[in-house]
C-alpha cells in the first residue's frame, strides 16, 4: 500500500464521519480495498507502522471492535497495547484528562478510544499529541463502523450513490446510525430510518432522512436493510414493551424482508440479538452480509491507521 498514488488524508485524527469530504471517504475505501487483499494473503504483515505504538483505550467493553483494531494495527507492524477500563486507574477515580495525560507521557503514536459518553473522545484528542481514532463515543459517532459498512455495500453493489438504505431499530441510542446517516448521504444514498417513535431521536427528520414507524412501509424497495442492536435494558417496558412485541413489529424476518427489493442485502453491526431485532433465518440467509462486515472491519481499520500514520512525526 503506497500513499504516493492517492490524495493524502488531510486529518490528524478520525473523530467522526462528520467533517470528512466524499473524497476523503472514497480514498479511505479505496485504501481498504487493498487492505482486504493483504488480509487474504498468507503473509498478512506490512511494515507501514513498524516501530509505532498503538494503544486501544476502551472505557466500554467491546470484544469485536477492540480485536479488530488490534489485528489491524498488528498487520501493519505496530506494537499494540490494549487498555480496558476494568484494569485501568479510571476505576480509582482518575479523570479522563489525567488518563490522557498519563498515556500521552508514554509517547504512543495512535490511541484508539471507545467511551460511553458522547464527546469524550474529542476531549481526549485535545489533550494528547498523537493521532486519535474514535472507536465509538456514546450515541454520537462510530466512524470505522460506518466506513466498513460502506465498504461492504460498495463491494457488493458496486456503488453507494442512489441506493435506498433503511436503518432500522434503536436509532435513538445508536452511534452506528448517526455515522452511517452522515456517510451514506455524503456518498449519495437515500437513507431511511425505521423504528418506534420511542427509539427515534427527536428532530431526526431534519437529518434529511425519511422517517418510518411502520417497518413494512419503510422497507419498500430498499436496497440495503441495516439492522441495529437493541440493548436488553431497553426491551422491557421502558422504550418498547417487550421483546415479543418488538420482534413482531420491528424485528427483521423473512416475511418483512420481502417488502424490500428481491436483491436487498441485510447488515448488522453485531453483536446480534437473534429473535429480538433479527431472525436467525435472515441473519444466516443468502441476503446477509453480516459475516463479511466483520472481515471488512479489519480492512477499514488498517486503512484508517495507515492514513493517519502519514501525519505522524518522522513519517
Amino acid at each position: 500500500m503506497s500513499t504516493a498514488t492517492r490524495p493524502g488524508f488531510p486529518h490528524r485524527h478520525l473523530l467522526g464521519i462528520e467533517g470528512l469530504s466524499p473524497l476523503d471517504i472514497a480514498a479511505l475505501l479505496d485504501r481498504a480495498d487493498e487492505a482486504v487483499e493483504i488480509s487474504r494473503q498468507i503473509e498478512k504483515k506490512r511494515a507501514t507502522l513498524r516501530g509505532r505504538t498503538q494503544i486501544n483505550l476502551f472505557f466500554e467493553p467491546s470484544t469485536r471492535t477492540q480485536s479488530s483494531f488490534e489485528l489491524a494495527g498488528k498487520r501493519l507492524g505496530a506494537d499494540v497495547m490494549n487498555m480496558s477500563v476494568a484494569s485501568s486507574s479510571v476505576k480509582k477515580g482518575e479523570t479522563l484528562i489525567d488518563t490522557a495525560a498519563t498515556l500521552n507521557a508514554m509517547r504512543p503514536d495512535i490511541i484508539v478510544v471507545r467511551h460511553h459518553q458522547a464527546g469524550a473522545v474529542h476531549l481526549l484528542a485535545r489533550k494528547v499529541d498523537c493521532a486519535v481514532v474514535n472507536a465509538g463515543d456514546g450515541a454520537h459517532e462510530h466512524p470505522t463502523q460506518a466506513l466498513l459498512d460502506a465498504l461492504t455495500i460498495r463491494r457488493n453493489k458496486g456503488r453507494i450513490e442512489g441506493l435506498v438504505v433503511a436503518i432500522c431499530g434503536d436509532v435513538l441510542h445508536s452511534r452506528v446510525a448517526r455515522s452511517n446517516i452522515i456517510l451514506l448521504q455524503a456518498l449519495g444514498a437515500r437513507v431511511r430510518v425505521i423504528g418506534p417513535s420511542t427509539l427515534l431521536p427527536p428532530g431526526i427528520e431534519r437529518f434529511g432522512v425519511e422517517v418510518f414507524t411502520d417497518m413494512r412501509a419503510g422497507l419498500k424497495h430498499a436496497d440495503i436493510v441495516m439492522m441495529l442492536r437493541l440493548q436488553r435494558e431497553r426491551m422491557n417496558g421502558s422504550f418498547v414493551p417487550s421483546v415479543k412485541e418488538y420482534f413482531r413489529y420491528f424485528g427483521l424476518d423473512g416475511d418483512k424482508l420481502r417488502e424490500a427489493r428481491p436483491d436487498a442485502l441485510v447488515m448488522h453491526p453485531g453483536p446480534m440479538n437473534r429473535g429480538v431485532e433479527i431472525s436467525s433465518e435472515v441473519a444466516d440467509g443468502a441476503q446477509s452480509l453480516i459475516r463479511e462486515q466483520v472481515e471488512m472491519g479489519v480492512a477499514v481499520r488498517m486503512a484508517v491507521l495507515e492514513a493517519l500514520a502519514t501525519h505522524l512525526p518522522n513519517a
Binding site: S197, T198, G237, V240, P241, S242
Partner: protein
C-alpha cells in the same frame, strides 16, 4: 331476521336530527331509517310499536369496572351487562383493574371470550397502560390492540411518572392507540377522601384539592403538545379543568375528556352524614364546579359522559368514611340520572345523547352511536319522562352501592337491542 321499530321519536345524536319515524333492522344492523312518513312493512318483519317514545342509539359507556376476573362476588360480566342492558347501555368498556390485570393479550382474549359466552351487551376491554398497573413499564400496545383492547388506561390510577407517560404517548401514537388517563395526582390526594373545602373541614375529613386533578391534567397536555399523541382525560370534575381542556382544544391538540355522571348530578353535599356511596374518585365537588362541568358538557368542551360504574360490597363500603373504598354503581342509572340535566333545562337531549353514545363510539373508532343504515342495531327505546323512585333491590348489579338509592328519577329504558336482539324489555308494573 327483520324487525321494524315503528311509531317512535327518532333521535340521531351523530347528526342532531330528531323527529317521528321508524327504524328497520335486518341481520343485526340498521337497514333503513325512515324519517317522518310511516314505512311500508317488509315481508316477514316483526313489528315493535315504539309507543311514541324516544328511539336512539344505545349508550356507549367508556368506563365500567367489572369484577371479572378476580372479584366475581362484586360483579361479573353477566351481571354488569344485565345492568347495562336495563339502563339502555349497549356497549361497555371494562377497566383493566381486575385480578389478574388486563395487561397481556391472553387476558384480553379471556375477557372477550367470557363476554361472548355470558354478556348480553357489547363488552370491549381497555388494557393497562403499564404492566400490573404499576406505573413503570408500558404494556404491549400493538399486540393488545390486535387482541381486541380498544383503549389503554391504568383505570383507577393515573400514570404519574412523566417519563413513563411521555414514552407511552409517543409509543401509542405509532399504533393509533387511545390513552385514557385517570387525572389524579396521588401525592396531592394524600389522605384526602372528599373535596377540599368548608364541607370537608366541617365533617372533619381530609380534603382533596382540585390541583390534584389540574396539575396532572396540565402536565399531560404539555406532553401531548410534545408528542402529538391522542389523549383522553377519563374524568374531570372542576371548573379549572374545564378551562385547561378548552385551551388545549383551542390550540388544536388531540385532547378529549369525559365526566362521571356523578359529578354532573351530585355534589359534595350529597355525602350528607358520611354516605360512603358518595365517596368517589374524583370526589364530588361543590355546586359551582358541578355547574361548570354541566355547562362544559352542554357546550361540547366535555366530550363524553361515563358511568364510572364501580361495584363495591358491604365489606368495602360499610366502614368509616375515610376507610371505605371509592366508587359507586352507575351503569343502570346512567341514562335516568343524565336525563335530570335535560329536565332541568341545562343540556338539550340531542347533546346529552351525543355525549352518551355517538361521541364515545367515535373516540373508539367504532360504527355504533348512529341512527344510520349500516350502523349496528344497538338501540334503546326510552320514555324520558316516566317518574319513579329507585329501589336498589331492583338493580341487576351484584353490588348495591348506588348513590341514587331512594332518589326520584325520571326516564326509563323500555327496550334495549344489541345487534338487533332484544336484551332488555321493561315490564310495566
Amino acid at each position: 331476521m327483520t324487525t321494524l321499530l315503528t311509531n317512535a321519536r327518532l333521535l340521531d345524536p351523530a347528526t342532531g336530527r330528531e323527529g317521528p319515524g321508524a327504524v328497520l333492522v335486518r341481520d343485526g344492523v340498521i337497514a333503513d331509517v325512515h324519517w317522518g312518513r310511516p314505512a311500508s312493512l317488509p315481508e316477514g318483519a316483526t313489528v315493535i310499536d315504539g309507543g311514541g317514545h324516544v328511539l336512539a342509539p344505545g349508550l356507549v359507556d367508556l368506563r365500567a369496572f367489572v369484577g371479572e376476573p378476580g372479584a366475581e362476588h362484586r360483579e361479573t360480566l353477566a351481571s354488569a351487562s344485565a345492568a347495562a342492558a336495563a339502563g339502555g347501555v349497549t356497549t361497555l368498556v371494562c377497566m383493566p383493574d381486575t385480578n389478574p390485570v388486563i395487561d397481556g393479550p391472553a387476558i384480553v382474549d379471556f375477557v372477550l371470550r367470557r363476554a361472548r359466552d355470558t354478556a348480553s351487551v357489547n363488552v370491549l376491554p381497555a388494557a393497562a397502560i403499564t404492566k400490573g398497573l404499576a406505573g413503570r413499564e408500558m404494556t404491549e400496545f400493538g399486540l393488545l390492540s390486535e387482541a381486541g383492547a380498544v383503549a389503554f388506561t391504568d383505570g383507577l390510577k393515573g400514570v404519574t411518572n412523566a417519563q413513563v407517560m411521555r414514552r407511552a404517548l409517543t409509543y401509542a401514537r405509532d399504533f393509533g392507540a387511545l390513552l385514557m388517563q385517570h387525572v389524579e395526582e396521588p401525592d396531592l390526594v394524600g389522605d384526602g377522601v372528599m373535596n377540599e373545602g368548608e364541607m370537608a373541614s366541617r365533617l372533619g375529613l381530609h380534603g382533596i384539592p382540585r390541583e390534584a386533578e389540574t396539575i396532572l391534567l396540565e402536565r399531560d397536555i404539555r406532553l401531548v403538545r410534545l408528542t402529538r399523541a391522542r389523549y383522553h382525560a377519563a374524568m374531570i370534575s372542576c371548573a379549572d379543568s374545564v378551562e385547561i381542556v378548552r385551551r388545549a382544544k383551542e390550540d388544536g391538540l388531540p385532547v378529549t375528556c369525559g365526566v362521571s355522571i356523578n359529578n354532573l348530578v351530585l355534589n359534595e353535599n350529597d355525602i350528607g352524614r358520611y354516605r360512603t356511596f358518595c365517596k368517589l374518585s374524583p370526589p364530588l365537588r361543590d355546586e359551582a364546579d358541578r355547574g361548570a362541568v354541566v355547562a362544559a358538557l352542554a357546550e361540547g368542551v366535555i366530550d363524553v359522559i361515563v358511568s364510572d360504574h364501580n361495584p363495591q360490597d358491604v365489606e368495602t363500603k360499610r366502614l368509616p368514611f375515610a376507610e371505605a373504598e371509592d366508587g359507586a354503581l352507575g351503569i343502570e342509572t346512567l341514562l335516568a340520572a343524565a336525563l335530570r340535566l335535560v329536565h332541568a333545562g341545562a343540556v338539550p337531549l340531542p347533546r346529552l345523547l351525543a355525549a352518551l353514545s355517538s361521541s364515545p363510539a367515535a373516540l373508539l373508532g367504532r360504527p355504533a352511536g348512529r341512527l344510520a343504515p349500516g350502523a349496528p342495531a344497538d338501540l334503546v327505546l326510552f320514555d324520558p319522562d316516566e317518574p319513579y323512585v329507585l329501589d336498589k333491590r331492583e338493580l341487576r348489579s351484584r353490588s348495591k352501592n348506588s348513590p341514587f338509592d331512594e332518589a326520584r328519577l325520571q326516564g326509563r329504558a323500555l327496550l334495549t337491542l344489541v345487534g338487533g336482539r332484544v336484551v332488555h324489555r321493561h315490564e310495566a308494573a
